[in-house]
């Protein structure tokens, strides 16, 4: 059996993240304290989500340029796994906020835009569910995928910069900034990001293979019957 190197890398990086992320020393900051370790698990979720949604977008564009069932399946499965990452990101963020801000949902601009970003993709799934014609479903959902992604750009990257927020790393970069990321944390943070992205890619690729196999089976059965 052939095992790709990146799968081993993914497992190693995630094991390293889990062990080092929980055991290594972290800087003591007021209020945040030990919860700063959420950086290794919460922030990579968003990196993973953005990566997976971008892959979904890329395959949607590919579909529009050259329609095929394969690219549609790719686009759909990346969006599915991306949504799972987004939900996990929101949940981990809520756990973190419960300890540092005092309540899980604080109405912070970043929480709100994250929730809206998830709503976009939920709408995408509803759109897919309500179209019965396969070809039409693939085409229209690809169009909506591209449209929603572009419409989210101001929401995720412009408006958060115009409003104040309590989220770490505010004022300029909405992710994180230099002071809560000292060099020791970087040693865990970057591997964690890579590890989680690889995991997302791995899950998505498995799902895609499964779907493609199902598609093939259907085709064979269809041939047999006809």
């Amino acid at each position: 059996m052939k095992t790709s190197g990146w799968k081993i890398l993914c497992v190693v990086l995630l094991l390293y993240t889990a062990v080092a992320g929980l055991l290594l020393d972290v800087p003591r900051l007021n209020i945040v304290n030990e919860t700063i370790r959420a950086l290794y698990f919460h922030v990579p979720m968003w990196f993973g989500m953005v990566f997976l949604f971008s892959m979904s977008l890329w395959h949607a564009i590919r579909y529009l340029r050259n329609p095929s069932i394969e690219t549609d399946i790719h686009s759909f499965e990346y969006a599915t796994v991306g949504l799972v990452f987004g939900v996990l990101g929101i949940i981990t963020g809520m756990i973190w906020a419960n300890y540092t801000w005092g309540s899980p949902w604080h109405g912070d601009p970043k929480q709100n835009s994250a929730a809206i970003a998830l709503l976009v993709y939920l709408a995408y799934f509803i759109l897919r569910g309500s179209l019965s014609n396969d070809e039409q479903r693939a085409k229209l959902s690809a169009v909506y995928n591209v449209f929603a992604f572009v419409a989210m750009i101001p929401l995720l990257f412009i408006i958060p910069r115009m409003t104040s927020s309590m989220h770490p790393g505010n004022g300029g970069n909405p992710g994180f900034n230099a002071y809560d990321l000292d060099s020791k944390m970087r040693l865990v943070f970057y591997p964690a990001v890579i590890g989680w992205i690889l995991l997302g890619y791995w899950i998505a690729s498995l799902r895609i293979r499964l779907k493609l196999a199902e598609e093939k089976l259907n085709e064979l059965e269809h041939e047999k019957n006809s």
């Binding site: 970003a117 509803i126 759109l127 309500s130 019965s132 169009v143 572009v150 419409a151 408006i159």
Partner: protein
């Protein structure tokens, strides 16, 4: 260009022919404002500027979604094929967008008038507020027209329209609410220039993407 004008003329004359649709939309708006008016009864003092702004934008949002939704959803199947044979999809989208923009603008101005009439008017900076109404109408028209085209292909198109449009128009609404608050607090108009410019940029972005994507929904 002449062709777009002809299409626009067709949209308007069709609209004037079936007056029930536009009258329905107007009545929808009036009913919504009336429900708000009744639910606050005579306790007008409860309508603080922030409540006013929330109610106003919710009303405008729902009216706009219903207005733009009918641009493709109401059309007959045969008509679509006819248009396909005589015009390019971009011309059709462009004429629909302009038409929806005018309609949204009229309805939001009417809504503003009704809010002043039945509730109160906490807006101090009228000029900036009217500019905001103009730009949000443009935003609604540009972003929702394409979605109406998508939703019209599905069975439960009316529900789908609301679900699909919410995430897309929310950035327009957020900026609009921000500017509305500036107008109510009587801040200097120059404070609102930046958000208004953002609104214009969003409009431009969304309409550019609509023009790129619309031909894909059209060919079938």
């Amino acid at each position: 260009m002449n062709f777009i004008l002809a299409l626009l003329q067709k949209e308007f004359s069709l609209e004037l022919k079936r007056k029930s649709v536009i009258a329905g939309l107007g009545l929808y708006l009036v009913s919504m404002v009336f429900i708000i008016y009744f639910s606050f009864a005579l306790r007008q003092n409860l309508i603080t500027p922030l409540v006013w702004s929330a109610l106003f934008w919710i009303t405008i949002l729902f009216v706009a979604i219903n207005t733009v939704a009918k641009s493709f959803i109401g059309e007959k199947r045969g008509l679509e094929i006819y248009f396909y044979s005589i015009a390019s999809p971009l011309m059709i989208l462009f004429s629909k967008m302009i038409y929806n923009f005018v309609l949204c603008l009229i309805l939001s101005l009417t809504g503003y008038f009704l809010f002043i009439l039945l509730l109160n008017n906490p807006v101090n900076d009228h000029l900036t507020f009217l500019l905001t109404l103009l730009l949000t109408s443009l935003g609604f028209a540009t972003s929702l027209t394409l979605l109406s085209g998508i939703a019209s292909k599905a069975n439960n198109s009316n529900i789908l329209m609301a679900v699909l449009s919410f995430p897309v128009v929310i950035s327009v609404l957020l900026v609009a609410i921000k500017v509305t608050k500036n107008c109510m607090d009587d801040l200097d108009p120059s404070v609102s220039y930046r958000p208004l410019l953002t609104l214009l940029a969003i409009d431009a972005l969304v309409s550019a993407v609509s023009f790129i994507l619309f031909p894909f929904t059209w060919k079938n």
